[in-house]
Amino acid sequence: MKIDPIHQFNIEPLFTIGHIGNHTIAFTNSSLYMLVAVAVITLLMLTSGKQLVPGRLQSVAELSYEFVASTIRSTAGAEGMKFFPLIFSLFMFICVSNLVGIIPYAFTVSSHIIVTAALALLVFVTVLIYGVAKNGLKFFKLFVPSGVPGYILPLVMFIEILSFFLRPVSHSVRLFANMLAGHIALKVFAGFVAMLGVSLGAVGWIGGVMPLALTVALTALELLVAFLQAYVFAILTCIYLNDAIHPGH
């Protein structure tokens, strides 16, 4: 039995929607899981109760609301609350698709670089447009840190500009790589269990206990990573937006 840790990332078209130029636009397993994430978030936020003393589901909805709201307030200030719907959507979308992806046989939307890159570029473009619209040319003071001696200013500016334009790269690759690596590791260790059991018989069944335990531990770790990466993505979005709101460092 061969372990194929990459198979889980395959995009399988379910049916074709249409064509744009030479590209076939298909409804894929990835599309399905994106809609699953949207549906889960919608159900959570819209069907939880409106009680004065919240139940469990309502608590989850309110906790996520207040968690994102306090993250924005602490990193981007009260003005950052303009972007509350955007950051909440990003956080919940990533968090729910990461968590859904841990379910065996489920597809992980955020394990594809194109998805995370699109989300990171959305943030990058939002920061750029809002920053220029709000601050005009003062926005580009972001690249000119105050209190730097004149002779190294060109170098510092170069680094600042480079790091600014590399933000979407690190922003997207961080999430993508974390999800990808976690799922590959899970698959490899889970594959060991089956492989040992099939190839070595009774000895393999006993030997399989170790990788099984590791798989359980890794699943717990992946649950943490799933939440943490969504949080990291959201807080980085807040920090980038803070640059657009207050470009003066």
Partner: protein, 188 residues
């Protein structure tokens, strides 16, 4: 690369991706650029839908619930503070009234005691006066009686003395000398 890939197998595109998924030897799925367009379109649809749901319905709804709770808590706290203030005021009023009543009771009891004392004093004095008067009257009576008795005693003594002298001497003594002798003896 995406265009050339898609272009080469442009017509049977569905079959191409299915075949690709079938033998999946074609490379690393996240870097399969032929799947990018599909993913981007579905991501755009899903994310825009999510954004609209979140910004139009979900956040106002949950935010409203949280705000309503906050208002309710603040209202209840204010109500509790008001009631506490009221009960404090009532307690203060009660204590004030209690103190007033206590001092009034003290005053009434003092007054009553003084009055009763004065009354008792007056009665005692009246009784004393009465008794003094009675005592004086009694003393007077005693003195009178004694004087009377004493004068009787003299007469009897004079009679007895003249009788005794007559018996002893057979002579009736002179009344005057008997009286003188009795007087002398009474004095002596």
């Amino acid at each position: 690369m995406a265009e050339s890939h898609g272009g080469a197998k442009g017509q049977p595109a569905g079959a191409h991706t299915e075949a690709d998924g079938g033998h999946h030897g074609g490379g690393f799925p996240p870097f399969e650029s032929s799947t990018f367009a599909s993913q981007l379109v579905s991501l755009a649809i899903a994310f825009v839908a999510l954004y609209l749901i979140v910004s139009r319905v979900a956040l106002p709804r949950v935010g409203g619930v949280i705000e309503a709770r906050q208002n309710k808590i603040e209202g209840d706290l204010a109500e509790a503070q008001k009631l506490k203030d009221q009960s404090d005021a009532a307690l203060k009023a009660y204590e004030g009234e209690l103190a007033a009543a206590r001092s009034r009771a003290q005053a009434i009891s003092n007054e009553t005691r003084d009055k009763l004392n004065a009354q008792a004093e007056a009665e005692r004095k009246a009784l004393e006066d009465q008794l003094t008067a009675k005592l004086a009257a009694a003393e007077k009576t005693i003195a009178t009686t004694r004087t009377t008795a004493m004068s009787n005693v003299r007469g009897i003594a004079a009679d007895a003395a003249s009788t005794i002298v007559q018996r002893l001497t057979g002579v009736v003594p002179d009344a005057k000398s008997v009286d003188a002798a009795v007087d002398a003896s009474l004095k002596g």
